[in-house]
């Protein structure tokens, strides 16, 4: 035997990582998603907008003209707070949801995901509590974990977050001496639950949070994507000093530009700008100018209408297929957005079932991804935004075969309702 055996961990810096980095594990679930990108697989997993209907040739001309005529600005550093013209235009977009804001109130970010990170960065110390819906957006949970927050979930029903439960939770946490820094909520066409917070509840949630002195972080990427009704007023329109509002062009225009924004009370906004400058210096001028040009010269409201019609058709295809092929499951029928939140029958575990689904050439996101703790095993999120209606039907048909096969296996071994401990599902663009 060697006197002095030298091993290697293949990572020279392993002992230098922050302790939170050691909790980041390579989940086999992430590996399975690499198959989901193959054309043979019907992916009901990704939240990718269907941008095929955008006027791509005209947008290409715009990009060329932007560099040719305004390149010295577009390709240069810009303002940390964001382009002033775009901020003015954003106020017009937000007016559709009842928000009256001054351009100075807005911080443009690299997608609203960066805004989420900035808000968390300036408010959260390790161990602080974030209250969030159960389930909650996987990308937000990833940010909260990265900043070592503790997330306490509050239940939802068909009308969104349940105000009485929120009140009780905030009361309990206060009694326990725990600091709640903010309520994180996706009020419109929730990701993943698909539900929308009713107008009456919006007022109640604002009142409850105001009474408990808890800030609201209102994340609203889908608000303009309702199928049959006008947008409900944003909570920001009900409380200017109690709500930070996050908006995005990723779902209503195109995610490739990576442009989102935050609207915050004055003092918070100042800190967000400083935090953003330290993180990225400034958002991309080229992206902001492209979006600004799009808002000025294209029928962006008409484009949103096109999106809504496409997504309604796809929603109908998915709900119809679920009724036909997996009638024993239960689900909501979303009135907008991208997602159907499905509860599997007989306590089946969606995460355990995923390899079987990939073998059957269909993919989804298991419900466990949308909880901070070890919950959500019997749920899955199905996205209807990207595949065609025909592919959606085929995907659900395949999924039905997977459910039946899994049911056969768990009935043989009597494990229905039992779950295996999971690794944390870190978000990736595929599932966000």
């Amino acid at each position: 035997m060697s006197d002095d055996p030298q091993g290697t961990r293949l990572d020279r810096w392993y002992s230098r990582y922050a302790s939170r980095a050691h909790a980041m594990r390579a989940s086999e679930i992430r590996a399975l998603f690499s198959v989901a990108n193959r054309p043979e697989v019907v992916s009901l997993a990704g939240g990718m907008p269907n941008i095929s209907g955008l006027p791509l040739a005209q947008l290409a001309d715009t990009s060329a003209r932007l560099v040719r005529d305004f390149g010295e600005v577009a390709l240069q550093y810009g303002s940390g707070q964001g382009d002033e013209t775009l901020r003015e235009q954003i106020t017009e977009v937000m007016a559709l949801e009842g928000i009256s804001a001054h351009p100075d109130d807005i911080v443009v970010t690299t997608g609203s995901q960066q805004a989420l990170d900035l808000v968390t960065r300036i408010f959260i110390d390790p161990g602080d509590v974030v209250v969030a819906e159960a389930p909650s957006y996987v990308g937000a949970l990833g940010v909260f974990r990265a900043h070592e927050a503790d997330v306490v979930h509050v239940s939802m029903d068909a009308d969104g977050l349940i105000p009485d439960e929120l009140d009780a939770t905030l009361t309990r946490l206060a009694a326990e001496g725990r600091t709640v820094k903010f309520l994180y909520t996706v009020p419109n066409f929730h990701n993943p639950a698909g539900v929308t917070l009713s107008l009456e509840r919006r007022r109640k949630v604002v009142e409850i949070c105001d009474r408990h002195d808890v800030l609201i972080l209102e994340d609203n990427p889908y608000g303009l994507l309702g199928f049959d009704s006008e947008p409900l007023p944003a909570m920001r329109s009900m409380s200017e000093d109690g709500v930070i509002y996050l908006g995005s062009f990723s779902k209503t225009f195109a995610p490739g530009y990576r442009v989102g924004w935050a609207v915050a009370p004055h003092a918070v906004r100042e800190k967000l700008v400083l935090a953003s400058e330290s993180a990225i210096l400034c958002p991309s001028n080229a992206s902001q100018m492209s979006i600004s040009h799009y808002l000025e010269h294209y029928d962006w409201v008409g484009q949103i209408k096109n999106y809504r019609e496409q997504y309604r058709e796809r929603r109908d295809a998915m709900v119809g297929a679920l009724e036909e092929y997996i009638p024993d499951a239960t689900w909501n029928t979303p009135q907008g957005g991208f997602y159907v939140w499905v509860k599997l029958p007989y306590g089946l575990d969606a995460r355990e079932m995923l390899p079987r689904a990939v073998t059957a050439r269909v993919a989804y996101v298991a419900g466990t991804a949308f909880f901070f703790g070890d919950e959500g095993h019997d749920h899955m999120r199905l996205s209807f935004c990207y595949p065609s209606p025909e592919r959606i039907e085929e995907g659900v048909r395949r999924l039905a075969g997977v459910v039946n096969a899994e049911l056969e296996t768990v009935s043989i071994f009597g494990t229905a309702g039992e779950t295996r401990q999971r690794l944390v599902d870190f978000p990736s663009p595929d599932v966000s």
Partner: protein, 311 residues
Amino acid sequence: MEILILAGGLSHERDVSVRSGRRVQEALRDGGHDVVVRDVDTELIPTLQEHPGRVVWPLLHGSSGEDGSIQGLLELLGVPYVGTAAKAARAAWVKPIAKSIYSRSGIATPDYVTLPQSLFREVGAEKVLDAVVERFGLPLVVKPARGGSALGVSIVTERAELPRAMVHCFAYGDTALIERAIEGTEVAVSVVGSGDDARALIPVEISCEGAYDYDARYNPGRVEYFAPARLAPEKLSAVADAAVAVHRVLGLKDLSRIDTIVDADGTPYVLDVNVAPGMTETSLFPQAAEAAGFSLSALYGEIAAGAATSA
């Protein structure tokens, strides 16, 4: 030399395959070769026919890449390729078949039983699992009869954990292999060459915090690798000899990786055979090659050249 690497595919190990493909491409390019990586799709056959002299290196992990399918296609088309021939790959891919072949040559492997899901339905799961525990005791390893990268594998220490381990396993395939868990030093032996020319590279010990699962394999940190394994010289020789013997008796060609556990007595138990071993940044084959003093570009170039001349 012109080389076409096949990577990706539709198996559960696609992600690993893509990473392996990129790493081998980089090493071969460093050696001056003209290397292209592509996935398997409907354009594969026309692509192969357009470049008749090109050597193909299948780096498809999991089904179709390791079960002899792609090799069979390449043989049909008369395309020279790296690695084990279709017939031998088919036998090596199915763990119980491979075990039955090499154990007949006196090579140790843990006691095992192969059970399809349908049998549990017919006979009753609890009775079968009781019989397994009575025969082999605990702990047990439950794994799919086909597959790699530790996907679908569970180490079961309590009888009550067995049903969930079976469900987990059957999500990856319809046949399970349950084997007695062996305590000892986990050692992977990479083998290069074929027949009488086959030789083992330096055996690599895997010392893992927790289970050697998917995360441990591909996210550096939890595993400490020792090359050579921290074994007495005679034990080191024994495990290398066992790996070469498995490579030969299964008729493997060019390269393989044989996974073993060496128990306290120094007996190497062969657990698994890989005809398309992983070639990623954390994979054991390239580690073993570098520990043996090979430059990867030279070794991979030699392997590809061998395939070109033996076609």
